[in-house]
Amino acid sequence: MKRFQSTEAVIALVLLAVTVLIGLINPAFWGVANLFSLAKANVVIGIMALGVLLIMISGGIDVSFPAISAAALYITVRTMVALDYDGVLLPFIAASVIGVLLGAFNAFIIDRFKMIPLIVTLGTASIIRGLVLGLLGTSIVNINKMPDALIEFGKQDLTTVTAQNGATVGLTAMILVYLAIALVIHIILRHTMTGRSVYAYGGDPESARRAGVNTRRTIFFVYCTAGLLAGFAGLLHSSMIWQANPRDFMGLELDVIAAVVLGGASIFGGRGSVLGTMIGVFTLVMVKNSLILMKVDTTWQRVVVGMIIIAATAITAWRDRKKLA
């Protein structure tokens, strides 16, 4: 428990340092409008990251969740448009179920054929993307066709302020959805045997089996939950940007994995926490956001994300090796 706290403390310190640095370089960072947009940018990536966190604690990795998100949101919205259905609850359930099913497919292959998760999810990502584009087409559902209820849902703000230039900016209410999901995942990981089994399995699969962990259930749990969160986050994203694009989230897996690793999860499995992951996501989003504020080209942002992955992985690997010695 001591280390549990100290890891988060280290990440929080990194976050603090980065914040101060960014604030010094660019005072516009502290503007309310910017902070609100920062909070908004955390929501979707954060929910996805929580799913990836589960998988990484179990010792696996998932690069298919952006494809799952895109599939879930596009299938749901296209179906709504086709049926002329408008609503919020049912579509979100549908998107989540699509996510769960795709996650279960990952879990099935990984468990049944004892395959490496990276390869499996690379494969399923490609299959899912291909199927969605091939079967449903590539056209983007724009605001004019987007179901109104979804748009209205995504527009909800907790509070609004009027910026100096006269524009009103709001703090999205979706942040509450994110926080609620984070709390649930935290409770599962920390206070249920299902969650502890994920840590045990990630720590040593063979010992977990001997201790009586239902390893198949554990694998299905992490991949299905990650799929659920990906599907949900996909439709949430869609309702927040009033658009459904089947090509959305291309390359996002790297950002999210970077955030999770930055948040202290071990690439070897067995370690990671919700709080750490949330701080990791916040740090990553903030860095990217600041690069935009500083008008750094998006291509260069890729360079930064890559460097964050390597640096964060190096630090956690170094930490884990030191523990083993």
Binding site: T192, G203, R210, G270
Partner: protein, 498 residues
Amino acid sequence: MSEYLIELKNISKRFGGVRALDGVSICIRPGEIHCLAGENGSGKSTVIKVMSGIYTPEEGEILIDGTAVSRLDPIMAVQKGVQVIYQDFSLFGNLTVAENLALNTYLLEGRSRMDWPRAREMAREVLARLDVEIDIDAEVETLPTSGKQIVAIARALLARARLIVMDEPTTALTGHEVDALFGIVRDLQKQGIAVLFVSHKMREMLEISERLTVFRNGKKVAEGAMSEFDEPAITRAMTGLELDDEPYEPEIPADAAPALEVEGLTVSGSVDDVSLTLRPGEIVGISGLIGSGRTELARALFGMENASARRFRVAGKDVLPRSVQEAISLGIAYVPEDRLSEGLFLTQSIERNMVVSILDRLRRGLFLDRDAMRGKTEEMFAAMQIAAPSPETAVGNLSGGNAQRVMLGRWLLTGAKVLILNGPTVGVDVGSKAKIHHIIRDLAREEGVAVLMISDDVPELTGNCNRIHVMHEGRFVGAFSGAEMTEDAINDSLKALK
């Protein structure tokens, strides 16, 4: 109530064509400290797995508390109180002591909620029962081996163990830790819990066990109260051989120059100012615990560590090898501890594995001289008495003893004059072991090779070496030769180390 807690009667178990267990019986009384002894491959591990329900025997009967159990499965075994502590402990390094202790119980109880306060309380209670102090909030991977072992024992206790089977429990422990473990085991005994040690370390077993069962080649060859046995009797039972006790006496010409002379060898953090002289024909042993720096010493002599030395004289030259290639060209050879990961190419043939060390000498122009390759291999294949259909056989298909002889052959092909052996018979069966010892002694005596032998197996050292150094924390802390070089003396010296 039956006299015995668990009885195995006439158990037989086959794997393919191999009879791993051939009508063996073993019985354990409640609260008894029992030792199951046997060499590698004698059927010890198989019988543990029968007891814990992992293997179902083809023949024989298992009685628990005097009642026959028709099909023992792992869950039933646990319910009946049989707990096995494997060498790797099956603990979760990433979780705390408390959680490691509670996890099995919670899973067994089919709980869905992780009750942290109860977990910590359970951990505190069970550790108090063992009278040990371990930080229950520490992550298990931060504990030393002895600490992990205690956690594993505590976990077995929490599972209401009545019989705790411990597989080679003293392998990675220091002398003091072994004493502490024995203290715990005696406490367990007072609480009515039986302990079955599975081991081949006779001296320790003589100290603690009350009864002994000895296996050899899947058969029970001896059993009885420990007081009826002494060490030679147990060894005889284990090996079936009257072991040749004659110590190795090299014949060294008085004027012979040392094959290797090292003064003040230091590797930062592991070897501290070690001086060593090997004369041709000598077999010098190094005894020491894991982590004593003995492996680093061997690697340093072979140019694999960043070492420094005041003097390093080999093959008549003052030069400290800085790379493996350089060490080989100076006539040094090293057979590593873990031949599977550090030495052999398992998917490749015996021939390729052997000649890999002398490829540059087998070159003809741009190509390899296949005839020379074959000739050299055939020669060594015969000399090492490798039991395989041909030199084409993949090394991965060989037994431990044969694989080790391939390794020896490889280095002898280099014409090495200094041979460093690290654990030369780890995982090798008895017959093969004697053969390897014989080969090593012949090499020293007849070819004048100077051998440095590092081993955990004290009898192996006393039986084959003419001098032995005890190493601890990077230094030589004791030297034995002649009449003083007895197993007792070396074991005592090892036990005194912390």
